[in-house]
């Protein structure tokens, strides 16, 4: 026969136990005794256990003088000589009147209500990249009352950001993005705690930064960081709200949520470096990050509230030129190297190398000094009246912004088919915006027999900076 154990009932619950201050129940562990108690006095149950059947957090159970939290919790074994007591802790408090007003449009919605607003308040969201996507994400999550917002960025605000990065104002140009964004968020909603991480996210720091957050929102603009964020989220089991933008095209999804796929299930390999231009190279419609970023913010809020169906397992594709949304079904790949059945990537790797970016830098350096020319040296040659062809390999739209006088325009992509327009005997200087595309052009020209070609270091922007200060930089 099972031994009976004495359980002391606190005053607040005695009315449910026939006004007894002590009852005797059979059980070998604290958990068994408490369930016996709830079975014997059903009205007491909802005051001791929550809807999930867990002990309410203000119900403390002691075995003699020890809190079971410091013993084996509900598995703590008990015998006939032990006395079990239920000791309340008491908590309470208000949302301030101002907070009630601020969130009133949430509080009156059944899907949010007070409970959801408290979830938002206790939520911790990390936004990687405070740029085009990060701007609306941070703004809306701050306004919604997300209690803690972490931001990773190491850039300063630049004039070229202002066309789409709406969290910054003209007066912020030159300021660190983290500082300007944190100021703006605090001004919007002083309830929000901002945690700034002024660092490039790396394989060394990613896990220790991400592990402190409930949801990660990816607002990065490059492949190495995107794979890094994905892999770290898989390893830590944190949902990753993904978005990407280019010109008129956008994508959004939710990765690593419960049993859903991860970014690698969809894109196992990065594109070859240079194939997919970045926004800095190809441009982006200013409102596009506004659309995709607000979708990401919506998904983050739904994940926190635990309401609705997220984009997990679906890739939302936007063509803003046609204003057409499309959806692709995504499946978890059982052979995915990070989240599959037999993962081969179990710790963070070198993502720059994985994306082939370090390799590209090496090639650019291999070009060698004899294949380069500085803006000043070019200016000297022009002044000296040297016979010289200046080849611009940018797109025609870029040539409308700035142009070195006398240059001829052949966009990089058209160079192989139009190379016959050039003469190998000519002295030639090739340029683009920053020097990357023109380096590829020089390499190509070299491979087809041009020997007198040089790359303009730093591109037309360096020319504008050092030689012709009246010229626009972009």
């Amino acid at each position: 026969m099972m031994t009976k154990v004495r359980v002391e009932i606190p005053t607040a619950l005695r009315a449910f136990a026939g006004n007894q201050d002590t009852v005797e129940l059979a059980g070998e562990t604290v958990g068994e005794l408490l369930r016996e108690l709830a079975a014997a006095y059903p009205q007491m149950k909802k005051h001791v256990f929550d809807d999930q059947g867990k002990l309410r957090n203000f119900v403390n159970v002691y075995v003699n003088d020890d809190d079971i939290k410091h013993l084996d919790k509900e598995l703590t074994r008990v015998g006939a000589k032990d006395v079990i007591s239920i000791i309340p802790s008491v908590a309470g408090g208000a949302l301030t009147q101002q907070q009630i007003q601020r969130y009133s449009r949430h509080l009156i919605m059944p899907e949010v209500a007070m409970e959801g607003q408290q979830k938002l308040r206790h939520a911790r969201v990390l936004v990687v990249g405070a740029g085009g996507l990060g701007s609306p994400v941070l703004s809306y999550l701050a306004a919604a009352g997300v209690g803690t917002l972490g931001i990773v960025d190491f850039d300063t605000v630049d004039f070229t950001n202002l066309q789409r990065q709406i969290i910054y104002s003209t007066g912020d140009v030159g300021r660190p993005k983290l500082e300007a964004a944190a100021d703006r968020i605090r001004a919007m909603n002083p309830d929000v705690r901002v945690e700034t991480h002024e660092d490039r996210l790396t394989s060394e720091n990613a896990l220790s930064i991400l592990k402190n957050y409930d949801v990660v929102v990816d607002g990065t603009d490059n492949y190495p960081t995107r794979y890094l964020v994905n892999d770290a989220c898989v390893m830590l089991g944190i949902p990753n709200v993904y978005g990407s933008i280019f010109r008129f095209d956008g994508q959004a999804s939710v990765f690593c949520q419960e049993d859903g796929p991860c970014y690698r299930c969809v894109y196992p390999e990065p594109p070859p470096p240079g194939l997919v231009p970045s926004c800095a190279e190809g441009g982006v419609l200013g409102v596009l990050p506004g659309i995709i970023g607000t979708i990401q913010a919506t998904e983050a809020v739904k994940i926190i509230l635990g309401k609705g169906t997220t984009l997990a397992g679906r890739l939302l594709i936007l063509d803003a030129m046609k204003m057409h949304f499309r959806e692709l079904k995504l499946k978890k790949d059982p052979s995915c190297p990070v989240c599959g059945e037999h993962p081969t990537i179990t710790e963070l790797i070198d993502y720059e190398q994985f994306c082939g970016i370090r390799g590209e830098e090496m090639e650019a350096r291999d070009l060698g000094k004899e294949w380069e020319i500085s803006p000043r040296a070019l200016q000297e040659k022009i002044r000296a009246g040297d016979d010289l062809v200046i080849l611009d390999v940018r797109n025609p739209e870029e040539a409308q912004i700035s142009r070195i006088q006398g240059s001829i325009l052949i966009p990089l992509g058209e160079l192989p088919e139009r190379v016959a327009e050039l003469n190998t005997a000519d002295q030639m200087v090739v340029h683009c915006r920053m020097g990357g595309r023109s380096a590829k052009a020089v390499e190509f020209l070299r491979s087809v027999g041009f020997k007198k070609v040089k790359n303009l270091v730093g591109g037309i922007n360096a020319w504008a900076e050092e030689v012709d200060k009246t010229m626009a930089r972009y």
Partner: protein, 141 residues
């Protein structure tokens, strides 16, 4: 149900709320309980054990609770309820209060506006935890 509180004791609760403003104050109410009536005889103010958000949260630990229960026993009284303040917020229980409330206890909430104690109301959690019932707060001598 009604709660009878001597005017001097109610005044002490109000003053406690003003002293801790802009943070919440909290404490135990000791007295006797019989059908349909609680008589408050004594209060024991407690430090708010929260380390953050004290402007809208309070916490009383199990150790404080055990000490108050034994003090009540020695005085021949019962622990019958809890009082706390709502700085710049109405004297109504919040959702957080409901989530953390105990049945049977009476809860007196003092609203403190801009550092000055305002109205005070008494409440009791409904047995099904669905909300609070307003109690009649009577001033005794």
């Amino acid at each position: 149900m009604r709660v009878v509180v001597p005017a001097g004791i109610l005044e002490r609760m109000r003053r406690h709320g003003e002293e801790t403003y802009p943070h919440e104050c909290c404490g135990f109410m000791l007295g006797s309980a019989e059908d349909g009536m609680q008589q408050i005889v004594e209060i024991r103010s407690q430090p708010n054990e929260r380390t953050e958000s004290r402007e809208n949260r309070f916490l009383i630990t199990p150790d404080q609770f055990k000490a108050a229960e034994s003090a009540a026993r020695k005085a021949g009284l019962q622990l019958v309820g809890i009082y706390h303040s709502h700085p710049d917020s109405p004297a109504r229980p919040s959702e957080y209060d409901r989530d953390h409330a105990w049945p049977w206890f009476s809860y007196i909430i003092v609203s403190v506006k801009g550092g000055k104690a305002d109205e005070a109301n008494a409440w009791q959690l409904k047995d099904d935890r669905s909300g609070f019932e307003a109690l009649k707060l009577e001033k005794g001598d």
